[in-house]
Symmetry: D2
Subunit: 145 residues, 4 copies
């Protein structure tokens, strides 16, 4: 569950045949790729695709992944990945996720991923200020009165 | 780190080109597949491939995955997956893992996965006794005096 | 290039980060999965998802794949898969494909795939009549005068 | 079938669970990754891993893939990829492949891939002479009398 007032990016797509396994459900590693799609969508909605950060020589290296599998998705099913920033620090951040059945909103998978900002040499660096500002501004739903 | 006296299955292979990403390292989702390879190897060393369990109508559904990424692997590098049973219960079990650089034994990734035994209808079931016994017998390194 | 008057299904999506490799372009095997997505979309537009055929105990097993790689796709890029039925026989069919850059319509990959209809025992079978009729009706663009 | 007297590199491994699909066989795109593993093995046996070529700023970009699927592989099955150089030109080469059941030597998949030598800017270049010589020397089985 996302913290209150958190801005959530949602992206919807269909399960691909190649993502199923012989248990006739989506293979558990495929959801890890879905989480990444969620992060990509979040970046796009922030007006800054992740590729911009990469062009500047930085990247957000994954340092930890955690996923809980509650229910299965199947081929051709429409699913949605809901992504938010759970926590933002100077050199790292944690994303939170829910993967849901896009038709009935049933939660299939929940997860988090931790990321640390590194430069081209793989050294840990502060998240560039312009990016950090963008992230902070968009993390919380603005409540205009 | 595996608990003391725990029997560890180790399987070694090379990183495939397709498993790299544009950061020129192994993509983080690929390690989740490596963990599964570790489980497969553990089953083989127990004298019972996982496919035997599947033929009997049971499977060990993944309910949780957790991975910490400490260092990167690269294309063509030899890595080893070390797998053990961290905890065995009547209906579920937890595997522990280390993925290491096979040349210098540096730890690249650590992880755990939780699994619950289900039947063909997806209902949670006790782990079949023959399998449970096998798992228990092989979980601990026998200390013959 | 599709034969004249052929009905073409088009589906558009973005390249996923996990689909890139260390050459910083989409890995060539990922396009084979994209082709499959094209086939899935074609089936949906025919009003019959492939999962319906599978539920009836049939499947269209891939017997041949051919792909030509003309230009590269990159992370986050919008691409479209254009799919049509190149040839329809009693027990098999050939799909034709173009994968294009969705922004400028540049052709990135062309391909074909051959499929044979099999039953649950893996025996080659005639394509079920209802399906064959559907395929035939939708293969050609209707020219209403 | 490889041309006569052609040197063949063979690499053996087990099918991973993640490589199966809901038809309970190996997904057809997974074999494309297996072919690449075959190429990697060929390079290693030539005494020059592909990573060496990459470090020098060159790569062999895939321009065409063709695969015929004759029989299915299943989870945990041992398969072998047999790879040889089918044709060597100044700027390009064609690899030939057979993927076989490692137990009974049944042929599962045959294929070819065409590659063109490119530099870091993506321009087509002659295959570096040292590499070309190595390839030529090892292409044919030496028949010492």
């Amino acid at each position: 569950m996302p913290p209150e007032n958190r801005r959530i990016a949602e992206t919807t797509f269909r399960v691909r045949f190649a993502e199923t396994d012989q248990m006739q459900i989506v293979h558990h590693a495929a959801y890890i790729v879905y989480l990444e799609e969620g992060r990509s969508e979040l970046g796009r909605q922030f007006g800054a695709s992740y590729s911009v950060l990469e062009d500047a020589g930085f990247s957000l290296a994954v340092t930890e992944i955690q996923a809980k599998y509650l229910a299965s998705a199947r081929y051709d099913q429409r699913i949605a990945v809901r992504t938010w920033i759970e926590e933002l620090r100077s050199r790292s951040l944690i994303y939170g996720y829910e993967i849901i059945n896009a038709e009935n909103r049933q939660v299939l998978v929940t997860g988090t991923s931790k990321h640390v900002c590194i430069d081209r040499q793989g050294q840990v660096r502060r998240i560039p200020e312009a990016w950090r500002q963008t992230l902070e501004n968009h993390m919380i739903l603005s409540t205009t009165i």
